[in-house]
Symmetry: C2
């Protein structure tokens, strides 16, 4: 731990990368000063990451905690079609937190920030009696009037998702299975493997990749009528998009990019479709595209697959078309911080969300 707040802030100033174009004053004064380019609107978003809710101290390496905390907010900027520029990190840590933990946490934050050309310009830090909490605010930019909102979906629009859904939830279950086996003496949990050596779902869970480039592409080419990021699960976030747009949707089960679960793998009882629909923390993008523009959406953007999974409907229902052709209503069953009634799968998820 650091002896004083001043020592901590000086250390942080040394870690923060150098000057960015619009940065006027970074960490260390009463507030940060930055400049927003002429003709641009400012995007503001903030996201909490809480020990025991969004991460577990014994399961999530501090580098991953830092990465994930920032990724949540970068993903929100991606979901507006904007470019993230500046971040503020508020950190409530327990007095037991080691200096090594803090260093790794900030290494995770700064590595991701640097890759997205985001400058950490400030924050606040306090020592708390209870669990740790991180709140990340990101300020971004988007050309005036060009941000893509949740509310623009129109009947007939095609619905797309990026990437493969449910991987993060699957990765979490693998980690939890391994940890409980280790507790029962059936294997060592050991330190987290290096990022390159992780199994795909574990890497996606620890180090989700915000889809900022895709969001910018959709914005610049004026392709999407609405856009949201998948933070709480497809079933929940599609419902939010439809409610904001005052429309419904029809989704084809067979088109949803569900995760591969190797037969006989430990969390074998998991249903791939449940993970894809309700798993959450995918940070992929969900967007609607007017049907005349849909041919402009290729099967991939950079290396990220794009899947057309359904269409927007006038009727307010959200329906899942099953492989046998039958339709079932799709209810929001992703994570809800206020919901008290929890299904078994939500109970599990709540352990790390």
């Amino acid at each position: 731990m650091f002896a004083t707040e001043t020592e901590f802030i000086r250390w942080l100033q040394r870690q923060a990368p150098g000057r960015a174009p619009g940065l006027r004053l970074g960490i260390g004064d009463d507030a940060a000063l930055v400049e927003i380019r002429r003709g641009y609107e400012l995007i503001l978003t903030t996201d909490l990451s809480i020990e025991g809710v969004h991460f577990l101290r014994h399961l999530h390496p501090p580098r991953a905690v830092g990465h994930r905390a920032l990724a949540r907010s970068l993903s929100d900027v991606a979901a507006m079609g904007g470019t993230p520029r500046y971040a503020l990190i508020s950190l409530a840590i327990s007095a037991r937190t080691s200096r090594a933990w803090l260093q790794e946490f900030y290494a995770g934050v700064f590595a991701l920030a640097q890759r997205f050309a985001v400058t950490v310009v400030g924050g606040d830090t306090a020592v708390v009696p209870g669990s740790m909490l991180i709140d990340v605010t990101v300020a971004g930019e988007v050309e005036r009037g060009k941000a893509i909102r949740r509310s623009g979906a129109r009947p007939g629009d095609q619905i797309f998702v990026s990437g493969r859904l449910g991987l993060s939830a699957l990765g979490l279950r693998w980690i939890q299975t391994k940890a409980s086996a280790a507790r029962r003496g059936k294997g060592a949990l050991g330190p987290a493997p290096a990022r390159g050596k992780m199994r795909d779902p574990v890497r996606v869970h620890f180090y989700p990749e915000p889809r900022c480039a895709l969001g910018r592409f959709l914005c610049e080419k004026n392709l999407a009528s609405s856009l949201i990021d998948l933070s709480d699960g497809l079933s929940t976030d599609l419902t939010r998009l439809c409610e904001a747009s005052n429309v419904g949707a029809r989704i084809w089960a067979e088109r949803i990019p569900v995760p591969d679960i190797p037969a006989g793998s430990k969390p074998g009882s998991l249903r791939a479709m449940d993970l894809a629909l309700n798993g959450g923390e995918d940070y992929e993008l969900l967007f609607s595209v007017p049907s005349r523009k849909a041919p402009q959406i290729a099967g991939k953007f950079n290396d990220v697959p794009l899947h057309c999974i359904g269409e927007i409907c006038r009727s307010k229902e959200i329906l899942l078309v099953l492989t046998n052709g039958k339709q079932a209503p799709l209810s929001p069953a992703g994570y809800d911080h206020f919901a008290k009634v929890s299904s078994t799968s939500r109970g599990q998820r709540a352990k790390s969300r």
Copy 2:
């Protein structure tokens, strides 16, 4: 409590005042969209308010918790000479938190926001197992290149403070004394009195007034060479200002506006000077003014007294000139979140900071 996150967000949208000039998109999408005026820089600041550290559930009315959480960030914008414009409220609440508590909390936030023409544009909310935590981010504006930093103080500059120092700490002690008497059966704590009927220090503690108008005045008239707000106590914040400016200071004890402590009052053992130097949470402004401009600082700004308490020196020492003419080094003894060695008075303060 609210049944779902969606219900809570809808309620919040109804509470938030209508449209502000630069607001493009408020609560409810992935992020907020606002516009910053041409020729202005963006000020970004964020401040944590934590149950058990910055407030106590049984002592602080929820309306005061909301007011204080926002006031901390508004004060930071005041300390840059800027105008606060937008706020994001991140709130980690326990499942036991009542709807009435939340309503009163937001009433405190919105009442202060409205008085300062600040629009609440977003935030995040989560239910946590441990203590409550609030993180408020404020975005403000200041004319390009005109923000007043901590680092501009020069030898010979006069040092000013606004208001009366130590009132908030005194108010806290009165509340604590009353609460512990109530616990011992020597009186009822009862509900907090209406704002107008509170004793002055209690009102200042519950409802501190950010000095935004004074900050703007100093900025517009180009009077202050450096500026900081007094959040952690004069001794600590003056040290920060001097370190940032690479200077020292000499302060006259007799010029420091200490609080009035009526003889025989309960916390009678308190030393007024200790409260003024180290009490913290005053949210008054501390600023340096080049001596040729000092005559332009009147004894009052609006209704707020301004006191010249000392001068900036070339030597790096910070000295307190006592009433007997002797000098004593002034060490930072205000609140430090990382400091482990705590004096008795810091131990007391830590209970509510």
